[in-house]
Symmetry: C2
Subunit: 550 residues, 2 copies
């Protein structure tokens, strides 16, 4: 199977287009039925992962390339149909792993839409003309405001349970109860009603925010979009920066970017991701940073790391453990953090920080073990120190290495570690880490900017283990042999539980609770067996269920 | 297969005994290796569902029969071993449904222990002499205080992932990170270390509260127990009441209790549970209520309803939908609530309310659709109205029935609906229901005690649908035909998500997140396939894993 590609650009879109009207952009879904990743037809604006990769790209470019856009209207480019949700043929043929990765990525895309509304004030609304079924309605649920045409035919629905014997896989159940706050018994009725709910009842049940007669539809959508655009704090007259194609070389066992390198050791089930610190000093001014555009180190590294993580997820499924390394000058990393911190009023710098946050969140929900290796020459500082805190474990070398005259490894905290990058649970990685020892966390604030060597880092609770040079190789080897020998499934479940202590949010509910139930159901014979509903959908044959309730 | 029996009593225990020392009780686990429910040996204090049914009974009796007990010490009756966790042969042979129901019940038992510590101030501590592995340590985690003997051999461990390719199934991962607040990377090391962690390191890592040398063990445990007993607010010189055997008749399609009746319609996959209101008025005094003992209506109905729910769960797996009916005088129900409310300072009345809370929580996590039917003659009032709010849907009859001269159905709110029975998410069922409309909830407080008929109840959002007599039968029939035609697995996943909106707690994390991941893993070939770890454990053959990370 060819490697799946997450990089794209508008000129290559087959399923989406964007139209601009001043401070409003229309993000138009017009799926090419023949443009699926596999051998199936994408009818009625149904989608597969390829369609969502374009959506993700479009959302991302709107934030970086179109600062003037204050409201984004998601709508359909087809008459009388909004979106039929995930394509059933695609789901029916997909492996379990494909389905799980598909749902994970589409969930991230929708959370990215919510992040744009909340944190970039590029506020999404959804204008539903026609049926929004399943994933179609879940896409709408990601918007801040949902409009539905009132034409006695257009409806919203989550028909997965009655039709397909699976759950809405992209946050639908959680957003219905927790974002829209639909009453639970109505949610139950809604989710078991194939044809969905339309008109005034959809408003009354909180499923949509307004319904508009067909005759007034276009004007009402435009008016609402401009009104919502007025609530945004985005700058006037700002100029976007271009997200140019990544400089990337893919070889058999290696992917090389400008600041990130991925080495694959398939025999051991291991990958090593090395992130390099800035190769030049911070720009002289905010304007100079804008002029650097996507070559500005924090943005470049975010894009490359994101691509590397997504690549490992879907194209290297048998890699169970990822070693995280950094290479470079800690001070240069912290200088860049300082630059971002000071320029926080600038829209682009704000975007970059939120983007780094989203990339780190992708690490948090990736089903691989992450082990950070903190060695001489590394630059785990500030933003890059988050990688060590995102890892399941971190190992740090005490002192120097024989034959290596570099200084002992140090980990350096920065302001970025104290609030810039909340996890899905709403806490920073350090807050989550020190949930039981808030005083230890307070003490760490006093250490900002101070290089912390291994034994101190271990004492402060910042790393899992510290080893001297003569123990390092053996300890690491034993740990990796052990880790890669465990059941991949049990590791996935264990990590999904241990990574998110403390409060739950809609986001952790979606990834932690809903996803887990969906994964379970995606394996049940009632869904995927020869007589299962997902297998038989559209064949004219009714599924046969094992009626046991579990 | 014979029906599984949840009722037992100390005289019939094979695995536990209780010893009393003033205000301290020792709950001693001494599993009879030959006493398993199936054909396997319960070595090293390992357990199956039968062992946990006794534990549940013992915890319950301590609360009702032994008000003098202020601290309960869980310990092992065997030398040098505390508890090896769930029996692997049992798990290896169990069906998927058996495993899921086993984990659910053991989770409820451990939450019941925490409820006793928190709300009855019958505070549990755990004294670990020997190894506490897997479910053994999870049992300890339910205690408020964990003591470990420091003998260079006794350890706590969660070896499920490395040994069995499954997760700790009884809340272990969640309690390690969220209750004990163990640092996430240490939790990762702990959960992948077969032999576990012992001595001072176990304290340092927050896995236990104290370690004690063997020479001082017995005295230290007794001293700690008496010290903790001193913190309790339980009454002096109170006299317990006996939980006598339930009056219950089991027939082929019917289970009859004194106030509860279960009718089974296997052809339709339906059960009807009817709860009868009090047949006599409230006792003249608290003393009189004590004298009634387990015949006091609120307690009797709690015990019977609990048994009925557990029976349906494990002995009637193919029943997907449960109709909830009540029968009796709403005023008598509310009078009993008032009695409980006024006597809230009394330890027994407090116990009864917390017990009703736990029984209602069992409904919340039962994998069956609950539909409340509110008809003339019913008594959905106060405590019994919670059944309607616990249901996935509620249907209410408008007006009277032809040929039935009873008054129109009414639903009556009482003080019990506004705080007595929080769900696992910490909110009342009404708070959860009206998450999106807090003002509607406020308005309902003004309606306490006022019978609300169908159309008003629908308007107030208290019921899902209201139908007139001539529509009722058809609407109900269509809904039930539809509901019972859906995939049982999808319904389970849907209900598990829709029932718990709003905040998450350790309890909802355990049932919503951890359980779902565990259920997923319990189906994976890496665990249960012919080459899976759970299947091969103890055979001397190593498992063969599909290495794909999902």
């Amino acid at each position: 199977m060819p490697a799946l590609e997450f990089q794209t650009e508008p000129a290559r879109y087959r399923h989406w287009r964007v139209e601009y009207d001043g401070d409003v952009a229309y993000l138009i879904m017009d799926v090419d039925p023949a443009g699926g990743l596999g051998d199936y037809e994408l009818k009625l604006n149904s989608y597969d992962l390829g369609v969502d990769i374009e959506l993700n790209d479009a959302v991302q470019r709107l934030r970086f390339e179109h600062p003037e856009v204050r409201c984004v209207v998601i709508k359909s480019g087809k008459d009388n149909v909004f979106c039929a949700g995930a394509n059933i043929r695609y789901l029916g043929k997909a492996t379990h792993g494909d389905k799980v990765n598909f749902c994970k990525f589409t969930n991230e895309t929708r959370l990215g839409i919510e992040d744009a509304s909340e944190n970039s004030k590029q506020i999404y609304i959804c204008a539903i003309n026609g049926n929004a079924a399943g994933g179609g309605y879940e896409l709408a649920l990601a918007a801040d405001h949902i409009m539905l045409v009132d034409d006695r035919r257009s409806a919203v629905s989550l028909p997965e349970t009655p039709l397909l014997a699976v759950l809405p896989g992209t946050g639908g159940l959680t957003r219905v109860t927790d974002k829209r706050k639909v009453r639970r018994d109505r949610a139950d009725v809604f989710c078991s009603t194939e044809e969905g709910i339309r008109g005034a009842k959809a408003v009354d049940w909180r499923l949509v925010d307004e319904v508009v007669p067909n005759s007034k539809w276009k004007d009402a959508v435009a008016a609402r979009a401009h009104e919502i655009a007025g609530r945004s704090d985005r700058p006037k007259d700002a100029k976007g920066i271009a997200l140019t194609p990544l400089a990337r070389k893919i070889e058999a066992d290696r992917v090389t970017y400008s600041h990130v390198e991925v080495e694959i050791d398939r025999a051991r089930g291991l990958a090593t991701v090395t992130v390099r610190g800035p190769s030049r000093s911070t720009p002289a001014s905010i304007e100079a940073a804008h002029a650097l555009g996507d070559k500005f180190w924090p943005l470049a590294v975010a894009r490359e790391l994101e691509d590397a993580i997504l690549h490992l997820r879907v194209n290297e499924a048998a890699i169970g453990v990822v070693l995280l390394r950094t290479d470079g000058d800690a001070k240069a990393v912290l200088d860049h953090d300082d630059f971002l911190g000071k320029a926080n009023g600038d829209w682009l710098m704000r975007e970059i920080r939120h983007y780094l946050k989203r990339v780190l969140k992708r690490v948090d929900v990736t089903a691989k073990s992450f082990i950070a290796l903190i060695e001489p020459g590394s630059c785990f500082a500030g933003t890059l120190a988050e990688l060590a805190f995102a890892a399941d474990r971190s190992l740090m070398l005490i002192g120097t290495r024989e034959g290596d005259n570099r200084k002992p490894a140090a980990l350096t905290l920065g302001q970025a570690n104290f609030g810039w990058y909340p996890m899905g649970n709403g806490l920073t990685r350090l807050e989550t880490r020190f949930l039981g020892e808030p005083k230890a966390l307070d003490a760490l604030k006093g250490k900002i900017g101070e290089p912390i060597e291994a034994e101190d880092a271990a004492k402060l609770g910042l790393v899992t283990q510290a080893y001297e040079d003569f123990d390092w190789d053996d300890e690491l080897r034993v740990m990796l042999e052990e880790r890669t020998s465990f059941s991949p499934d049990a590791m996935t479940g264990m990590e999904a539980n241990l990574r998110f202590a403390g409060p739950e949010t809609m986001e952790t509910k979606i990834f932690g609770r809903l996803t887990a139930w969906q994964n379970w159901i995606f394996q049940r014979p009632n869904a995927i067996g020869e007589q299962g509903a997902l297998k038989l959908y559209g064949s004219g044959v009714s599924p046969t269920f094992n009626r046991e309730r579990i």
